[in-house]
């Protein structure tokens, strides 16, 4: 990726990322875990108990108000499913070019977490998709039902690693 642009950006941008990290750590302390800080990307691992509080803080105080993506990643080795929220900012000019990533690590056998619709209305369909692709159950979601898959889908959720399409079994 464009090394020049990235290099320039990283020198003056990383201060912004540091500021975000400092503010989050000051607010939540040990409850959140900083995964990495990269130019314009900060990822925290948040437990599902404080996810609503964290998201509300990110939206109201930090200005990360623009939901971009909700992705689920299945890690069968660690018995975990990560639900990764990517949130951008439209109102806070300082943080505008950054993307706040926060992940909730759920137990793979019982993936339940509260929905973030009260904070970001835009994640409704992303969460529905994560539900049917990985089987993550979002508590309080108004319509947690089939979205993309056919109505008669009877297999395990397709994006889990133990689901293999025909002819691709390893």
């Amino acid at each position: 990726m464009s090394q020049q642009g990235q290099g320039q950006a990283s020198t003056d941008q990383l201060t912004v990322e540091k500021e975000i990290v400092d503010r989050v750590i000051a607010r939540f302390g040990d409850k959140v875990k900083l995964a990495y800080v990269k130019p314009r990307r900060i990822r925290f691992n948040v437990s599902k108990d404080i996810i609503l509080e964290f998201a509300r803080y990110a939206r109201d105080e930090l200005g990360f108000d623009h939901p971009i993506s909700v992705a689920g990643v299945d890690y069968p080795k660690n018995k975990l499913i990560d639900v990764v929220y990517h949130i951008g900012s439209c109102t806070n000019d300082k943080f505008r070019s950054s993307v706040l990533v926060f992940a909730v690590q759920l137990d793979r056998d019982d993936p339940v977490m509260p929905t973030l619709i009260p904070i970001y209305r835009g994640v409704e369909y992303h969460e529905r998709e994560t539900f049917e692709m990985l089987g993550v159950i979002f508590d309080g979601h108004p319509r947690l039902e089939r979205l993309l898959l056919p109505e008669d889908w009877a297999d395990i959720p397709p994006l889990r690693k133990d689901f293999h399409t025909k002819g691709r079994e390893e």
């Binding site: 623009h66 939901p67 692709m133 994006l159």
Partner: protein, 385 residues
């Protein structure tokens, strides 16, 4: 209206649709799509009370092809052709962030000339998509000439893209490490000629389509999306900018050589269907400007870094976003050190417009449905992946 309706005979009159007094409101459930001239590969379950839409439930998934699962079975290079299929009207736009992400995770340098060629092709594809979109908008509003004119001009730009890449719509032109092949020698001159013609032609669109009072009656003040709603619902691209948010990834987080080029971010404050249709028209001017500038400054040199047969990614994850024609298009790529990606997540603008659409359609008139639906830049194939 005084006409006695035999509710048994008209299927779809919702018997439960009663108001507080226990009176039958006569709510009619319409299934708009998947075979409907106003839907495309998509279904909207619309409940109408008279002419007012009470509830609109989007039902995507008719073109869900499992791109994300397929990515896990193919290596980084093999993923290129099928990843551009969801959006072949803007195939460079949808491949751009993937290529950027693979370059970052595999640490591949890009030659300078390739960056310029990428920008030119991305902007050409933006115009190609917007023209197709505008044409279909015309069909949705019952204006067949508005379909044909952009279609005719689109072919000129497709000629340019075909000249560079060899394919009409599915270019597969961006590869990790540059572009697949250099443009022909005659390309810059022809591109300039076509782009200047196209820019003159755009003025006529305004005269014929946008200034038409009936077009304005269909779109002005229809489906107003407020700024706060646009942000909170995750709207993106022209939809977001038409609501007055100056948010363009090309400015916010410049990739390749966008930070060296001079262009404006188009915003409008109305947030109605007209603004959402007018912003792309203004953006096409900017795209032509960007492409012309990039053609001027394009250096000579190699266009592609030689790669090994099976590039491996570093362990980790990247999140890359670009401004495609429909808005912010992002790839979330997780690598476990293998030649194949561990997880690829496409965050496509069309999918993000679904809640916006459901929000705007609620309370709108049935006659406004096509105008709102298509002004969302919604492309079902892309949304379903």
């Amino acid at each position: 209206m005084g006409l006695e309706i035999d509710r048994e005979r008209i299927p779809g009159f919702d018997v439960e649709g009663k108001d507080a007094d226990g009176m039958d409101k006569g709510i009619l459930t319409l299934s708009v799509g998947p075979q409907h001239p106003g839907s495309g590969h998509f279904r909207l379950i619309v409940k109408v009370d008279g002419d007012i839409i009470v509830e609109a439930l989007p039902d995507p998934g008719y073109v869900h092809r499992g791109e994300e699962k397929m990515c896990e079975y193919r290596n980084y290079i093999q993923n290129i052709p099928h990843l551009e299929r969801p959006m072949i009207a803007d195939s460079c736009g949808i491949l751009y962030p993937y290529v950027l992400a693979v370059e970052e995770i595999c640490n591949i340098p890009v030659p300078e000339r390739a960056k310029y060629i990428r920008v030119i092709m991305a902007e050409l594809n933006r115009c190609i998509f917007e023209l197709y979109w505008l044409g279909i908008y015309g069909i949705f509003l019952g204006h067949s000439t508005m379909f044909m004119w952009p279609m005719a001009d689109r072919e000129l730009l497709i000629d340019l893209a075909e000249m560079a890449s060899g394919a009409r719509v599915t270019h597969a032109y961006f590869v990790p490490g540059g572009v697949r092949n250099d443009v022909p020698d005659a390309f810059p001159e022809k591109a300039k000629r076509h782009l200047l013609y196209f820019r003159n032609r755009l003025k006529e669109y305004k005269d014929i389509f946008y200034d038409n009072p009936l077009f304005q009656a269909r779109t002005v003040g229809v489906g107003i999306l407020r700024r706060e709603d646009a942000i909170n619902l995750g709207a993106t691209g022209p939809v977001l900018r038409a609501s007055g948010v100056e948010h363009d990834i090309r400015k916010v987080e410049p990739y390749d050589v966008y930070d060296e080029l001079d262009f404006k971010v188009i915003t409008m404050n109305e947030g109605d269907s007209f603004a959402r249709a007018y912003v792309p028209w203004l953006e096409m001017y900017e795209s032509v400007e960007i492409a012309l500038q990039a053609l001027e400054r394009m250096p000579s040199g190699p266009v592609r870094t030689k790669l090994g047969p099976n590039p491996k990614g570093a362990v980790g994850e990247v999140f890359k976003r670009v401004e495609a024609a429909r808005g912010e298009l992002a790839y979330y790529l997780v690598s476990d050190g293998n030649p194949k990606p561990y997880r690829v997540k496409l965050s496509v603008p069309s999918f993000r417009e679904i809640p916006v659409m459901a929000h705007l359609l609620k309370g709108a008139k049935l006659a406004d449905m096509p105008s709102i639906y298509w002004s969302m830049n919604y492309w079902p194939v892309e949304a379903d992946r």
